[in-house]
Amino acid sequence: MVTEKFTVKNEQGLHMRPAGVLSKTAAKYPCEVKLNVGDKQINAKSIMMIIGGCIKCGMEVEVVCNGEQETECLAELKELFLSGFGE
């Protein structure tokens, strides 16, 4: 299992577009991908769950990848978080 914490930069939080990019990317990998936000745990492969999680700008998100290709998956997600999902 690999984990890393990021701060959400997107001004409107992880709304439709960034949530779409995040879930699509997570879904490419066979490993399990979870987001820990506050006391919630969210399936990162589900855009609906991410939107429902209401993850706002400035919040800290812990990304947890567990299983096959976990390192590659975390590396790609890290890039997305740091670039503000290209917004």
């Binding site: 701060t7 930069k9 439709m16 492969k45 589900s46 855009i47 429902g52 706002k56 400035g58 917004e87």
Partner: protein
Amino acid sequence: MIQGIGASKGYGVGTIVRIEETDLSFEDKKITDVDAEVARFRKAVEDFTEKTMDMAAKMREQVGEKEAEILEGHVIMVSDPAMADEVTNQIKDGTCAERALWNVCDMFIQIFSMAEDELTNQRVTDVQDMRNRLLKILLGKEEVDISQVPKGTILAARDLTPSMTVGLHKENVVGILTEVGGKTSHSAILARALEIPAVLSVPDIMQTVKDGQEAALDGDLGVVILDPSEEEKAEYHAKRDQYLKEKEALRALVGKPTITADGKQVELVCNIGKPQDSDMVLERDGEGVGLFRTEFLFMDRTNTPSEEEQFQAYKQVAETMQGKPVIIRTLDVGGDKEIPYLNLEKEENPFLGYRAIRVCLRQKDLYRAQLRALLRASAYGDIRIMVPMVTCLDELRQVKEILGELMKELDQEQIAYNKEIKVGIMVETPAASLMADLLAKEADFFSIGTNDLTQYTMVVDRGNAQVAYLYSAYNPAVLRSIAHVIACGNKAGIPVGMCGEAAADEKLIPLLLAYGLDEFSVSATSVLATRNTIAKWTIEEAKALAKEVEGLGTREEVEKLLEQRKK
């Protein structure tokens, strides 16, 4: 007359065409052949995806990128693994596909509508739209087709969804009325993108109107008149013609320089609050950014943004503006703007207290990070630094001293920046106004902030209803202060701009021209209207008006005269 929410400007007179909602009721069948039912659901999702991508492509062509993305979002939602798994699980328990879909969507609608976040709440409409269209496919029902409505149609619907508007011929539709929705709903965004006047949230509209009934609407004030009289029809037709004519006139000003009737060119730039706003500046033909407020970077978070994060934001604006000037104001915290993690004490008089540059010069690490980020970003465009709330000359000198130190650092680290970067001040305190002649010798530019200058000159808290009547830039004291600042800047040969609301006020524009203002910084939506007003005046006429105003002693007299003389 019925009152709703005006969501897309313009006027329309026409005949109602009702868009009936398709009956989506279904029977709860007990499923025995689970595999067949799952396959039926999968097939429906495939059909949905194909149709929606088709619609999105049309939407992109006919309306715009943002509207197309709404539809593409529905495809992403429908292919959500959590959703598909849950529907499949329910079907395996013997539930039919329709009911399973309904249940799962309902769960998400619950979650989204309970969130304490407007943006998440708005996604409820997307789930509903997606669910309804998927149900139609499962039930074998046709999509509502509104592409064939005749000329002069006013559409009446419970809600207008993106999927409905695909294929709509906008020249045939003169108005939109819906029962739900607000200024930021999808229906409002679509109506504005299509430039069709719209009134939303009209109470019980679907029960009230009949097909073929005449109606008139005002998409600005949100007014609907059913069965208008001949006079009312004539009035709305006239308003519509006038509105379209003005719009056309403004459109003709796109790409033109901002010049007075006698040929004096001034700069017309925009106020923005976040990096993404710079797209809007270009879209609306702003000539640069006259005020980029940086507070957004610091608000709604739990810690200070890093130098790197700030650098990225400033660089983004500089690059988007492609070499056009970008004036960035350093952090203006305090007053009514609170940033919890800076731990500023609660004050009796926050507007007279520890605020803006006063905070920055004391919390040096915070300020150094911002100034360093600005310097680094200056390598990517014409960034200029503006210091807010200056009251004394030494504040400007201190900022320049810090900048000098940072430049040395960057030189040593061999990091690029603009060595000639301009450093100016916001003139928004009576002290700065009175000292403008000497400040002008050391500042590279001035920008007059009329909101604060009015508040501090008139000694009035604009939030206090008892004294709010004093809060007006038409007060002779405020006008004199503005005229003085501009004269000092002109004399020292530095550009003077204005970034308060007054810069877009058609009544004040001639006075500002007469005083010699060089740069008008307005909201992106006001660019063309401001350019239009400036083009109506010659400097000579403006000066004659200023001369008349000079003799007036009260706010009412000034405002009355300016109202009479506005063009």
